[in-house]
Point group: C2
Chain length 336, copies 2
């Protein structure tokens, strides 16, 4: 055990694209768990695009981070000290902690990690919040029916890669947008996508969609926004559903971005566009966890984590999300 606790502090609110100035690594005492709490050695921590929103000093769905406070996020780790009857030393758990070597979690807010189902990092991706987001966002908001065409942006990310596979399991034609040939290959060769478009190589997104989605688009699961979304909106079929899960292309925009107006495009197809937050499904998480776990165990659901080693590299791992460094879930390995 280390003698002190390294912990990333939120040092400065960024303007536009964040950089290292927003982060400061401090050495503090290892925290002590109180009654009902667990001291956990962090093995893996999650960096997620939505965290960019928490860097803003604006009320939104996730509380803004306070400057000077530790960076927060989901972690997987091992219980070192338990002040709760629910967990013992040595248990693997996941919960909302800090970007640190050691973190204290309330035992009531923690879930067990079963390493026999999947390696621990998967609990930050396919078996964690991103997987549940994909599950409810696609099935509840997207409501895909067999034979329909489903398009996913950010398809090689933690959420998109699960969305596309669940759509395939539901008998849909699935098309993904992603940003590298390696990602395209992963989607089409390993995940069973019917087609994938490298948006960094292709310039005419609408033309590319005409080729691979000749029957139009019934469900669009949007993680990205921007010109990809602009193109997909011109292809929406009658009664199309759009799940707006993320808009990573716009998270670093200062001010309100502009683009083609979409409301006029919704009338003829009577399309529905809905914003989506996984927290709304909290009472049903067990259903998603069971189903996702079963699909992972059976091999029907492929998952992948891009693991950056070392707590010191956590900010880099986070910043890399905005340049698309990750394939699958971006995770930081803090200890083993």
């Amino acid at each position: 055990m280390r003698e002190s606790n390294r912990e990333w502090i939120f040092a400065k609110r960024p303007d536009g694209e964040p950089d290292m100035e927003s982060f400061e690594l401090q050495e503090n005492d290892i925290p002590e768990p109180r009654h009902g709490e667990l001291l956990v050695r962090v093995q893996y921590l999650s960096v997620d695009p939505y965290m960019r929103g928490r860097m803003r000093d604006a009320e939104s769905y996730a509380e803004p981070w306070e400057v000077g406070e530790p960076m927060q996020g989901t972690i997987v780790g091992e219980v070192l000290e338990s002040e709760s009857e629910s967990y013992d030393e040595g248990d693997l758990v996941t919960g909302n902690g800090t970007w640190a070597d050691y973190t204290v979690l309330d035992a009531e807010d923690v879930a067990p990690v079963d390493a026999s189902v999947a390696d621990p990092p998967a609990y930050l991706g396919v078996l964690g919040m991103p997987g549940r987001t994909a599950y409810y966002g696609l099935l509840d908001v997207g409501d895909p029916k067999p034979g329909e065409t489903v398009v996913v942006s950010g398809a090689a990310g933690a959420v998109g890669s699960v969305v596309g596979q669940i759509a395939k399991l539901n008998g849909c034609r699935v098309i993904g947008f992603a940003g590298s040939d390696r990602k395209i290959e992963w989607l089409t060769e390993d995940l069973g996508f019917d087609a994938a478009i490298n948006y960094k190589e292709v310039s005419d997104y609408r033309g590319a969609l005409d080729d691979v989605a000749p029957d139009g688009v019934d469900v669009y699961f949007d993680n990205v926004g921007g010109p990809i979304t602009d193109a997909v909106f011109t292809k929406l079929n009658l009664d199309a559903r759009v799940a707006v899960c993320g808009q990573i292309a716009h998270y670093n925009d200062e001010g309100v971005p502009t683009g083609p107006r979409k409301l006029p495009q919704l009338i003829a197809p009577r399309a529905t566009v809905q914003g989506l937050l996984v927290g709304d499904y909290v009472t049903r998480f067990e259903e998603a966890s069971q189903q996702l776990g079963a699909w992972v165990a059976s091999g029907e659901l492929v998952h992948r984590e891009t693991i950056v080693s070392g707590l010191e590299n956590a900010p880099d791992a986070f910043l890399g999300l905005f340049s698309g460094d990750n394939i699958g879930k971006q995770v930081v390995a803090v200890s083993e």
Copy 2:
């Protein structure tokens, strides 16, 4: 009876804002009804914003008009000759005819007009397609609950004026956007709107909404688009519903208009935006007709028609829709 039939022909597809060049008045023979048809003397004809879409040579929800063919639209008129057992000479009916003195209608596509419920022009507005659009658009798509705040753009128009009143009947706080002081007065004094904003006088729409919708917006019924809609989208509450009925601010745009991106604004409130066409509710029209007729008869639903006299003025009446000339439903009186 006239010796010939004046009939407006669609003469030319407009670029951008239409003008008189798109219309040509021809004199033709009075048509003869065949078996199952009615010859109708047109008393009133309807001009509606959606007709701008039919002027385009592009597939949309309403079939494009063919150049050289008569202008089509809903009419109210008197049966002069009946080749159907369903209607007799002298009956008042409404159906889809042409911009003409006389038109032939299929008796199966016609509905009777009961002048004891409301004057015939009302059957082109509150008791016609615009009223049913308001009814289903607000109640099915908007789904307003008592105490919620409902905002309507184009509030003094044929659809908007009914939307606002149905929202009031459902116990909502109702705010309208309209374009003249006379309209504002009508909305707040006669129709019971809680507040109305003259978008041609006010420059800060968001600020104006802050004053009159301090609790945010739960339902937005959009007939207009543009900067009004941009402002309303910044005020959407959790689980807000947006019914996109029309986008008249953009109907004359050539190419795709641009504006603030709205998808990023949908995530935090998990708002739902849905395009709306009244034709989807055709199997339920009887319900709306009954309820709207009852509200009109009881005086709970106020209606108004702006009547332009003379078939020769039909194109002017249509073009006036885009400058907001009408209060309530814009109708052309062809004969009495």
